[in-house]
Amino acid sequence: MSGSGRRRVVITGAGVVSSLGATPEELYENLAAGWCGVRRMSEWKETSAPLAAPAVLRENVEKTIPRIFRRSMGRVGLYSALAARAAAEDAELSGEFLAGGECGCVIGSTMGGSGSIAETFRLLLSGRGEEIPATQFFKCVSHTASFNAANLLRICGVVESPSAACASGLQAVGLARDLIAGGVQKAVICGGAEELSPEVNASFDLIYASANAAEGESREEKTTGEPRPFDAARRGLVCGDGAGILVLEELEHALARGARIYGEVIGFATCGCGSGLSQSDASAILRCLELVCRDAGIAPEAIDYVSAHATATVQGDREEAAALRTFFGARVPVSSLKGHLGHTLGASGALELIVSLLMMRRSEILPTLHLEQIAEDCGGLDLPREIRRREIGVFLKNCFAFGGINATLLCSKFKR
């Protein structure tokens, strides 16, 4: 038990599906090498926003999932299930434990199966409604990422699917923490997943939040923009997809079975702005930072690294930078992985949390890719531009979402 009377919660497994690696270690190596997952989506014929960072799957990996489970999976369900299976294997959880009711599954996404939803409407609107498969609905629903992973692993505990746009993945980890800390579950497979679709990509372009969107440029010229978090030349995000799934586990349970521990979840907070649709708000972010420190019972001085939300939008990066400047000054190194991976929306919080755990294990901080000239409105922060060796005892993960929703999570190195 912690001082607050809650059970202590540790992270004992991780799995990813991403544009830059099929395992956490492979992803980390490619991030450290400065790779960028963004490419031009030549397969999207009719879109004003052709840039994206799509997940790369190993050839025929989907065939490793029996058809009876695979038939209800669109891409987001598949990503989620693959990463969840990898996380459970990484944690060495037995099939018996997974199916025994003491393990839950909480996985969120922004859209559910956005590609499957679009496909359904295309069939309906073209008068081919009779061709819609019986399993299509299950690929579309907003909890498709969660139930598909849960079914593949035969999980019979709590199955939930928070949906709060880009904060979905981190909210899922927070909910999982609460389920274990409160004694409801011994372990929870949790995180976020997202699938790209031209329809969602174009939505960011429409509101000038995308790196594709520069006025007066042709479709071809729009393909040159990379996401540049905190940079003076940043002009918006690039959507990516994939999944980041973790195993959270009650400390005593993990110790009793000799599990390898990545770190401890010591704090979580989520709050609304009380207003706002698409724009972050520094004062609400600041409140979320205060709430997470209060939840963990630590002072800001105890935090050694911040994994920023920073998607490379003009307004969002400015507001996050303002909040971090007020909260930390220039004392704490801050970096964003959106330059490498694009913005994986509902997957981003959990995916970037996994990378941050590896940074903590390796005692190094990965820099923000494509950050060349720090923007004036993002100044007054410590923004590494190359890999920095640094002991990380505690780190903070930020996520801020459409609808005015903020989420923050604190992890520490595990100490008995």
């Binding site: 009876i68 038939r71 498969p133 019986a134 399993t135």
Partner: protein, 85 residues
């Protein structure tokens, strides 16, 4: 017909014999049956969704018989319509 089972529903070819019950022996369920019908609709260019006979299918042999009957009906109506010209 069998290729729809092997390709779409990934049932091993050696499992496909007429006496096999679709749910019990082949491990399929009602959702698979709907998708099977959609696949066969596409393959044979006919609409099956409103056909009540589908609900009576139990074995793979029933599926074969259902389509044989459908094909016979189609030929019959084709013959009668061409005979009227």
């Amino acid at each position: 017909m069998n290729s729809t089972f092997t390709e779409m529903l990934e049932v091993p070819a050696e499992e496909l014999s007429p006496e096999k019950e679709i749910f019990k022996d082949l491990g399929l369920d009602s959702l698979d049956m709907v998708d099977l019908m959609i696949g066969l609709q596409r393959k044979f260019g006919i609409s099956l969704r409103q056909n009540e006979e589908i609900r009576k299918i139990v074995t793979l042999g029933d599926v074969y018989a259902f389509f044989e009957k459908l094909e016979a009906k189609r030929r019959e109506s084709a013959a009668s319509s061409s005979g009227g010209e």
